[in-house]
Amino acid sequence: MTTVIMRTTARVIVPIVLVVAISLFIEGHNLPGGGFIGGVLTTTAFAIIYMAFGLDFLERGILGRDVDPGKEPSRDRVVVAYRRLFAYGFAIAVASGLAPLLYDQPFLSQTFVILEGIPIYDHLEVASALAFDFGVYCVVVGGLLTILSVVGAE
């Protein structure tokens, strides 16, 4: 599928998809979106890269390493990074759930503050749920990319 049309299109749309994914993630609390959708969309962007440039592109093109052809897919550097990503994501989600315990609140209880007078935004709401949602995002991205690259490498 690595046709010229595909590559050219991918170059244009991947950044857009990523930006949309991040904005979906951030504004999830008030508008449609959230960690899960943001994560899946991010994964979609990666999947397009894989489609257009092949699975080894990330390792060779971005990390600048030669791919070791004999290596098992699960030992691949990129896959290791994905695995780490979902492990960290999970840790973040659990930690954000444990944090309320320090304030004598039940596990996973959330709160929010509204900051006034911020430049440009003027009125910014920061919800503690964002941390948990970030954990969700990381687990989704890490988990799906692990599956994608391991299955795709077969």
Partner: protein, 843 residues
Amino acid sequence: MSPDQAVIVAAVALPFAAAALTPFVFRILGEETGIVGVLVALSSFALLLTQYGAEGTVALQWIPSLDIALRFYVDGWALLFALLASGIGALVFAYSPAYMHGQSGLVRYYAAMLAFMGSIVGVALASDLIAIFLFWELTSLCSFVLIGFYTADDSSQYAARMAMLITVGGGLFLLVGLLLLSVMAGDVVGPASAFDLAAMLENSDAMQSALRDRGLFVPVMGLLAIGAATKSAQVPLHFWLPNAMAAPTPVSAFLHSATMVKVGVYFVGRVRPMFLGSEWLLLFVTLGLTTMTVCAIMAVAATDIKELLAYSTASHLGLMIAGFGFTSVYGAEAGVFHLFNHALFKAPLFLVAGIIAHETGTRQIDSLGGLRRDLPVTAAITTIVALSMAGIPPFNGFYSKELLYEAAVEASHHHDIGALGRLYPAVAVFGSIFTVLYSLRFLSLFFGDRPDELGPVQSPPLTMLVPPALLALLAAVVSVDPQLAVDAIVQSGLEATAIDPHEMHVGIPTSYSLPVGMSAVTIGVGLAAFPFYGRLNGSIRAISRAVPQIRPNWWYDAIVDGLTDEGRWLADRVHNGLLRTYATWTLSGTCVLALVGFVAAGAIEPAELGVEATLSIALVLLVAATGALAVALSDSHVAGVLTLSILGFMIAIFYILASSPDLALTQLVVETLVLLIFLLVIEEIPESYAIGLRRSIRDVVLSLAVGTTAFVTVLVTTSARPGGSTYIARQFAERAVPEGGGSNIVNVTLVDFRGFDTLGELVVIALAAISILTLIVMRGSGDGGLIDTRAGNELLDNESSDDERLEGGLSEENPLEGGPSGTPPDGGNSDDADTGIEGGDTQ
């Protein structure tokens, strides 16, 4: 005086914390890690001792929405048991380094022992039903690790699995009983203390009548009894306990004598005030006396010193259960006092057995004798504790057994139990005669002739001698002045377990009464029969060899082997490595469950199909339906995938039209991703393949069933909705902005209100990723992997059986050699490797 929360929590938490730190401690101290164990156990002991005389509940918030808390209830009974566990724990830790010298896996040993002690102290103090159950099962888990300590030894693994199966299985019965109890307590003592055992016990009369009103009295009592009986090795579930002697001897001393097996007895004593009645008497006295007699007879048939002690432990547990079974106050006295006495004499006996095995290299009773000259101090210790076990006056075991006799006689006088009134005392005496016999046999290891083949015997190191000596000293003190122990702790234990406690007095009887006569008969017949011990031993063993069905062990093996065969048969059909088999079973199972559920709940009723779809929705659904048909008809994978995504995108548009943008977004994104993944892997899938008629019929039927189920589910769930939005939906809508601070209700629900669900979904995603990784890695290790593994296992099996032959049953590693009942079948676990996936994933 009310208990101090910090102290109690520290006493329970300390062993667990130490268990977690064991690997680091072991790196510094090596084999001397036992010293840390001693310190931890002593600290727990000292902390508990400061609570002496306290009574009351302390609670830590745990799951406030369900009113579950980490409650600890302190009273004399709890303290007695917790002090025994930590005190004997300290001595066992002191004993361990010398005994376990040079063995591998010591980190596991010490960590498990510490956690074991912590969980037993936890059971003793916990008063929340959930906490009790958790600590209860923790003791099972820890004992599994400890019994299976010799991982290379088949019999050890067999015994560990057996103990786990029996005690954890019994724990599940207990769980059901506890939950029923909590349902009851919710009505009687109020929902706020529905899990609070202490509150239930305070209202035990109200609880009892409520249970009787609903007809739950006998079921709940039975369930709790099964839990306690498995844990405390009551007949017919006693057989795991003798097998558990595969554990290292210090573990046995701790497990068999002081603690874990007594957890059941302890619990029976704990709930006794709530259930006391004629059913209680009938159930527990019968259970206890049967166990006491059967296990005493089996102990006489033992050929191995640890086996003898293990059976005798089960027998004494029966005595305690029978004691608690008698409804009179004497019964509670017998139970509490014997629990205390038994710990004092059985722990040193096991430690002595460890010394004998360690110094002589054998545990066979027949090849031991005349050890008095080699091990004089040990002989002195044994004399005190063995005579105490036999119940010879004035040793301490005598007093508590006398109380049992009194309770039995009293029950026959004051209760209308018919012939049982005569039978109970008679059985108690009959069982106790065997107790005298095997106690004397154990003692005779130190007296009489020394067999010629017994090699030189060294005296044990001081650290192995002091712990049993201390316990024997305590036993001697209690023997001389039993009232001392009664005043110190037994009386307060009695007050918690009896409903009509009175001032307890114990001493040597000075005038004749029926119980005294019973004791005299017991001891007299025991002494008279002792010369015929060998013949008794032989004939009991001959009977059990001739009729294997009378051994519960035989039943256990038959059932477990049968289940293994069934499991293999099932695995061939359900779990055969073919994706389509899995899909068939999963989908059809789900459909059947859902449909049967609807029918059972009476949810399916002829509802009119109100068609209110707008033109645009109808149009979208029409396209979707066409797409679905096209999927089924498409003849290449690419076309199939593309048409499938038409269906998916149409559903997304449907969501948009039905004003749920979040769902639509998710659907769109997931649809895109799935399409991409399909395109990525599509080259690997074979072009097309022919499938047989049978399989295509099956597929059609399955897809029709799935479609019907989905359709019916949608119909049922939407028609059941009351007019307008539900209470929950309104709540979410109203509370999203003020409490979650977000105007996207879906997201606020996901992260603020139902965060726990989302966390669970994260676990699912992580698990999916991990399992795919594992699958690929496993497949990557070569297609011949399964065959290799099986060959390797056979090799291992052969090696281990060679080892057994070489060891000749002389060492710790193979303790079951020649036992009448504990012999594991060789075929029990050699076929485990055969359950591998066969057939491969060929389409």
